[in-house]
Amino acid sequence: MEVSRTGEKMDPIVEAYKKEIDRTLIRENLRRTVQERFENLMELQRLADELRRAGKKLEEIP
């Protein structure tokens, strides 16, 4: 297993996934308070529920 510059073991699979992570989203979240992060999560859940409902309606259309 490879070792990072700071001496930590690096998992090649995790490192491969890490390349795909959108760090702008992380930076944006780190600027938020914990409460704002939860509020954002609940908003995302609300949106996901809406999309699921819309998807179900589409399935009902003959």
């Binding site: 490192e15 996934y17 992570i21 409460q35 995302l44 859940q45």
Partner: protein
Amino acid sequence: MTRFDQLLSVLVRHGVQFIIVGGAAATVHGSARLTQDLDIVYHRTDENLERLIRSLAPYQPYLRGAPPNLPFKWNKETVQAGLNFTLITSLGAIDLLGEITGGGTYENLLPDSVQIQVFGIECMCLSLKRLIEVKKATGRVRDFEAIAELEAILEEKKRSGI
């Protein structure tokens, strides 16, 4: 939708000893991933079980995904007889965990937890480093992406001195 604000407030108001783990803990630390439920590791003392039962009782806890009308009773005997419960309540989905793979019990995890302030309350949340260790210990393929994001958060925090 899971009302994280109300679930956490209800637990704290009843004095339940618990630690936020899983996806909700990842949210606390800055994850942008969508999680559907609140995962908590609860202290398995008699007094805490009673507090836990009392806190959730008004919100009709029931086994998530189970067929309706099962003889599930939300009481101390039920919780004592089991360890981990995947529940749905009128406030949303909550997983009550007596212990977790790679992390152990409430007592094991408490030294690696941090106190957070949110929604006007204070509660404990697993530290970012420990959360990564626990996720790695579970060894689930679906966690690789989550681990990668958590490690990226750790790197970003170090980089920006947070």
